[in-house]
Symmetry: C2
Subunit: 267 residues, 2 copies
């Protein structure tokens, strides 16, 4: 049995046609497993089948919600290259495909040179000066907030009480509640765990934001300690939004960037 | 026969197992078809098979170069939904897969509300105050520059002569040489046609930047007239870069955002 909740939750068993997993309760928002969690689970199977150490760039299209219980993860090599292995796969529940994935897997050098970094980690108050995300509050029941400690910048935290800042930003600290160390699979989760940045835009309805597509570029192996995250939505039009994220580790290094294509909540 | 060069170049013939196309000369950089062109060709087949009008979010993984000559485009429905049809497919040359695609296709409302737009089109001098991209010059022979008119912001244009600005930016105007109207397929091309923004970062070698993954979100149907484009690279580390793009139409509306995961040129 794995030591940590996240590792238990994404544990895979080799079966005919793929890997089986059992999605436990508590990684959800209103009963549906969080999109970052679902990507991490699917990417875990792709990574296993690739024989590579890390997800490097992974794209997910969300087709149906993943609820608790048994799922089948599939994984197929698209191309085995020298530097990357390109993989595709899915998570299925019975006859229904819930997510389709496409990604490149490979190695990451922990000592990789930071050639050019325009910017830095978001300016956050210390954890005890931020607002802890709770399962209740806002428009949803966030089971995920029992598994993860998310500490939100006080300037961004009132969106859940329907007082948007106007900035289109969500910034905060991220760590596992049970102290699980950060790794590259955790980055896929972290970049889709915070309240949607669009909640800090006054013109929109604050409700469920269905993700159509979510892509994460993993740029480094995170150092131990909490992550500093910033998410921004700049363009909302035609009922569609994007959210761009940056994830920085405790050593101040950029470890992931993310982007998603989502739908605005409907009244 | 199609009237315009781009439509001729991405014309498809239904065959067993997919669509055949003939990639003509002149959409290349150093003999390899441009990544944006290749995405547009593949997305054209996905779009045809989806029965939908527009690409909405498309991701491509580049596996092998596409050179001139016959290719086979494949397309498969992942999920036919109410609002979207999720598609996957590939471009193959003989036994070799050159690109794998995953995307969502659907409708776009030309009158879609611009709910929240933080920013605006890049501030560009008029076309006659910009620097026209030519096939020769810089580190590559850019056949593409015979098909497209790309007019680069003078502050960003000297990168090709090995004088990077330091900004990590490439900004410019985009239009078809033969006056082909803009549409959503053209946006997939436009967002990967300019010289890499990383060429305006002093620390890097200016040479071929292989794209591993490229994703475009199409956010609107472009109005007639040249596009205004801005591309930025902020993070270069471990031999990897991203490039983020925005494409704005002549009416000043955001019509696409793009991101790619690329590799730094090697010395």
């Amino acid at each position: 049995m794995e030591q940590y909740e996240f590792d238990q939750a994404i544990a895979l068993d080799r079966v005919d046609g793929g890997w089986s997993a059992v999605v436990p309760d508590g990684w959800d928002i209103n009963g549906n497993a969080n999109g970052g969690f679902v990507m991490a689970l699917g990417a875990s199977a792709l990574r296993a089948a690739s024989g590579r150490a890390h997800p490097l760039t992974v794209t997910a299209h969300y087709l149906a919600p993943v609820t608790t219980g048994s799922v089948l993860c599939t994984a197929e090599v698209v191309k085995q290259g020298k530097r990357f292995t390109t993989m595709t796969g899915s998570i299925r529940r019975g006859d229904r495909e819930c997510i389709r994935l496409l990604g490149a897997f490979g190695d990451l050098d922990p000592e990789a040179e930071q050639t050019f970094i325009d910017g830095g980690p978001p300016d956050l108050p210390p954890i005890d000066g931020c607002v802890r995300r709770t399962p209740e509050g806002g428009t949803a029941l966030v089971g995920l907030a029992n598994r993860l400690n998310m500490w939100i910048h006080p300037d961004d935290a009132e969106a859940l009480d329907d007082r948007p800042s106007g900035s289109g930003l969500t910034r905060g600290w991220f760590e596992f509640r049970d102290g699980r160390p950060m790794d590259t699979l955790a980055l896929l989760l972290a970049a889709d765990s915070f309240p949607p940045a669009v909640f800090n835009i006054p013109e929109v309805i604050r409700g469920w934001v269905p993700t159509v597509e979510y892509t994460v570029h993993v740029r480094g192996i995170p150092a131990p300690g909490p992550l500093r995250c910033i998410f921004q939505t700049r363009f909302v039009s035609g009922g569609v939004l994007h959210e761009d994220g940056e994830v920085w580790d405790s050593a101040g290094r950029l470890v992931a960037i993310s982007r998603q294509y989502g739908l605005l909540a409907q009244s």
